[in-house]
Symmetry: C2
Subunit: 205 residues, 2 copies
């Protein structure tokens, strides 16, 4: 399963492409940070990022797109740009019949590090370890995009277009888990525990 | 000058096309409210609205696009959809080399009714009067899109792609005003006064 992860942004848009095998092994295909100059008007900036996203989709032909779910932040101008780019990214995916899934930052952190409140450094270090990279991808937007892509493949069990699995393990997930190494099973358990508590937190918020 | 006004929204997206002559006379070309069903996932909804916007651009070939400038609102899910649609609309315009201008709701109200805090009913009634329509365009998203288009043409003096004029009248604006009827001049004065005070208010906010 090939996943395109996108950390949406108008100034810097992280884009990562990852292949994930059924045994959850992940390999890096491509990673890039698309940028648009602040001097340009917003429509021009959006088109610049859209051109880059389309070029990556054409080149790597992913099976699915994973996007960060954007929440309200303190800076209104940032959230507007982020939401606009996420709209553009969704349109690009939809017009190529690519399934799109949204994951919250805490879901991504939980999936990658086993801890929903991990910091950027921990996420970057785990991304490098999972993908067998010698260095942590920089800037953080690049690592975040890769983390999103890995998170998506792991949460859906590597099935392109699959719905996000419920917190409770499905029979298929349990069967998949049976073929994992002990270390992978430990990750899966930690990931699920973190996801469950993350989901519970969100409901309370 | 033909202007496409867009009141962006995921559930209802108001779209109005207006021709505005150099003497500020405005005529209705088309008005429609694009909708997307809430049952659809967001990417599908964005594509539905994008298809509608592209069809209107192809059919009516506007010289400029006027979009409502979106601010933070209380409802986060609404602002996200609105921002995503505005991103998609800007991309569509940019890829056809159409200039895009953003106007705040109070700028539109001031331009159309002479009063930046006019209510929806007053804006609708003035839009109908300006365009010589027998009934107020419904729903409000339709009237708002037309108001945006008229506002844009009037604020830029009917010059496609013109930068938004400063609050102070330029020599060209003054020359244009000389060819207006007394009633039109009264509107222009009221509009300018409202815009100036509106701008002052925004700075203080």
């Amino acid at each position: 399963m090939r996943v395109l992860g996108i950390d949406p942004g108008l100034t810097r848009c992280g884009v990562g492409v990852v292949d994930v095998a059924p045994d959850r092994t992940a390999t890096l295909v491509d990673v890039v940070v698309l940028r648009s100059p602040a001097e340009l008007a917003t429509p021009g900036r959006l088109a610049r990022i859209a051109d880059g996203l389309e070029a990556i989709v054409e080149e790597h032909r992913p099976n699915a797109v994973a996007l960060e779910r954007v929440f309200a932040r303190s800076d209104v101008s940032t959230i507007m740009g982020t939401a606009q780019i996420s709209g553009v990214a969704m349109l690009i995916a939809e017009r190529r019949a690519l399934p799109v899934a949204l994951h919250t930052p805490s879901e991504v952190k939980a999936a990658i590090t086993g801890y929903g409140r991990a910091d950027k450094k921990q996420v970057g270090a785990m991304v490098a370890r999972i993908l067998g990279l010698e260095a942590v991808p920089k800037p953080a937007d690049a690592a975040d995009a890769l983390a999103l892509a890995i998170c998506h493949a792991w949460r859906t069990g590597g099935v392109a277009g699959a719905a996000i699995a419920d917190a409770a393990a499905s029979p298929r997930e349990r069967a998949a888990a049976a073929s994992l190494t002990p270390a992978q099973r430990a990750w899966l358990a930690a990931e699920r525990a973190a996801t469950v508590s993350g989901a519970a937190r969100r409901v309370k918020e």
